[in-house]
Amino acid sequence: MIPEIGLYAIILALAVAVVQMVLPLVGAARNDGALMELGRSAAVAQFGFVALAFACLMQSYVASDFSVRTVAENSNSAMPLLYKISGTWGNHEGSMVLWVLILSLFGACVATFGRNLPPPLRARVLAVQAMIGVAFLAFIVFTSNPFLRLDPAPPDGNDLNPLLQDPGLAFHPPFLYLGYVGFSTTFSFAIAALIEGRVDPAWARWVRPWTLAAWAALTTGIAMGSWWSYYELGWGGWWAWDPVENASFMPWLVGTALLHSAIVAEKRDALKSWTILLAILAFALSLIGTFLVRSGVLTSVHAFAVDPRRGAFILLILIVAIGGPLALYAWRAPMLKLGGIFSPISREGAMVLNNLLLTTACATVFLGTLYPLFLDAVNGTKVSVGPPFFNATFIPIVLPLLAAVAVGPMLPWKRGDLGAALGRLWAAAVLAVLAAGAVLVATGVRAPLAALGLALAAWIGGGAVVEIAERVRLFRVPAADSWQRLRGLPRAAWGTALAHFGLGVLIAGVTASSAWQIEKVQLVRPGDTVDVGGYAFTFKRAAEEQGPNYIARRGTFDVTKNGAPVTTLYPAKRFYPVQRMSTTEAAIHTLWIADLYATISDPDEGSRESGGPAFPTRGDGAWAARLYYNPLVPWIWMGCVFMALGGVVSLTDRRHRIGAPVPARPTVVSAAGE
């Protein structure tokens, strides 16, 4: 019964979306208030129906209703409740429902919180949102119905892939989709602006909160995925330039460019058609990512079960949803009036540099990810593009960008003095030199790239502090005045500084963990001690354990430093009998400036013959252990958290809740003849 309600809810949502797609547009064209208003109620209704469908699906999982095919394929009665819940979106069909849930959620938010938007714009935005909704709801109904039934129902299910039975991964998709799909809102705003034929600073201000929300969510989602692969996949790696990782990274790169470009559009009425293009591209990349993951065009450990038929449907959606807006752009964008002029050395100029480098970086990732496909289609040869390519091409593009991050906020609008800007950053420069010097001294000039990385991190982090110091005129006005300014600083200023600071923290983490990881791989027997970066890991024993749907072998390591106990680590190897898969459960103890990381495994795993038991061990109780000291690794995710937090703080700036800015009356200080 409940699955059927869910299916009807989806179909109703589709019907409402069709209405929402057509009528508000007509209303906006004819300036018909009632039709435009219809868009708002339709958006809320659409969200309601999709939420109902989602709830029905989740209920089927929680109740372990194996008569529903996706539940039978992806769940199991012995599975813990948390994973029954997250299993709802741990498969293709369920994740598509989550996708449209978030899409309709954003639409409903625009309908509810977009009170200060002019009705025609809002109506058009909601109509475009609905178009996307129609496309994907149809996709669900016709190719990916999550409510298909099995008759007779099997007694139990296939269990969720053990890799997905993890708290981190349970919540990675929702955040990722909030980001990915969140960019649909800025996309809709962009198309609405193109239809209207006008982009004014007000539009840029209205777009900003939605961009910030999506960007912050995407930052969080990517960070969660990276953190998950760090602790789950067993060798401490956190970024593999895997096609699906790249698919989420590309919208992030363009989204960051969009954030900055929109500021110029708002403050200086410049870069308008470029901002529109970025808004279209950000969501276009999200859609392309959706296509890549589900169509089987690329191999990836992340990819869902592939079906070329579904791939063809999504490709069709892509052609309409991206080709259409780009055609609209080619037609209408030239009509947008050119905006304010600026000198190359200025805040706008810095933003342009930011955009240039970010979009080139995105193009690099795009090319690298899709080149194997392109070449195969052209002449059938197979090349593979892996991390060595991305590291060699992406990093050089990003380095100048990182250097510019601290300088940009120091430059005034319209025209600036680079020397003065750099001069204000003297404190950050000192920090950078100190950091580089410390590295070179400690490692004896053997790690120039690492020195550069830490120097940049210090430069950016210091620059963020200088940002705030400059704003409050620290040391240049009396302390009381500075304090007054500090308390009056708009939230957006804090948000920007926090986000830039987070970037510095992230770069420090990336540099240190890549350059100075200490790894010890060796056989351990009970009583053996291994020194890892000054910490002594003593292997005590390995014991068998029974879990709800797995058997485990858990090892125990006592960790001490200079004789004083630090922690005990319990790495494990789990075997899930239903899916016949093993996972490595790493044991991690974080010291905040580093991680202690341990995994164990069967020493003969690579050459074990077939038919052996799940956990053979050697007679002498020897296990293969991988022990790590990972310096500054937690800073990678702390940096991402700061960035996302910065975005959220900016989001709460009261200026976003005020209505459209109105030009002030001309003041007395206006140059003659302007």
């Binding site: 096609p243 990836s300 002029i341 190359p344 100029g349 080139t360 190897k573 490595t584 200080v669």
Partner: protein, 155 residues
């Protein structure tokens, strides 16, 4: 489809899920740390042909283990990194290299982004040069001071 059966056959027998990502095992490692370090770095340049998104250093597939051993044997035998990669490339094709070779068919890949950057930067420079920035208006000294005061107060 058949390929999936093939892989399923191999994996079923080895009873290792793709998930059980392990890698270099103690028994495989060379005694000499410098040579072993070379082997580890080189392994990251070689793509496992079974678990095609991992390098052989990270993959738990039996073929990856075989290739790890092969790489170490050849290092000990004195081959250079380039020779070892060429050895594998002759047998498995370009697909086995994580770093695509720089040849005419990959020029767009390697040189495309830098070229794009240069072209875009050039176009931007040309555009900005054609539109001269407005010079700041000349102000009388009192107005200049007043403007500065206002700016100081409001920023």
């Amino acid at each position: 489809m058949r390929l999936k059966l093939l892989i399923a056959g191999a994996l079923l027998a080895a009873r290792l899920g793709v998930a059980s990502a392990w890698a270099v095992l103690p028994d495989e490692m060379l005694k000499d740390p410098a040579l072993e370090g070379r082997a580890r770095v080189l392994s990251k340049e070689i793509r496992c042909q079974v678990c095609q998104n991992e390098n052989i250093d990270d993959s738990s597939a039996p073929l990856a283990a075989d290739l790890r051993r092969l790489v170490r044997e050849r290092i000990v035998a004195g081959d250079s990194d380039a020779q070892i990669l060429e050895f594998l490339r002759q047998r498995y094709g370009d697909n086995v290299l994580m770093r695509p070779p720089v040849e005419p068919q990959t020029w767009i890949l390697w040189f495309g982004p830098p070229a794009l950057l240069l072209v875009a930067a050039g176009a931007l420079a040309a555009m900005l040069r054609r539109r001269p920035a407005a010079p700041p208006p000349e102000l009388a000294p009192e107005d200049e001071k007043r403007a500065r005061d206002l700016l100081e107060r409001n920023t």
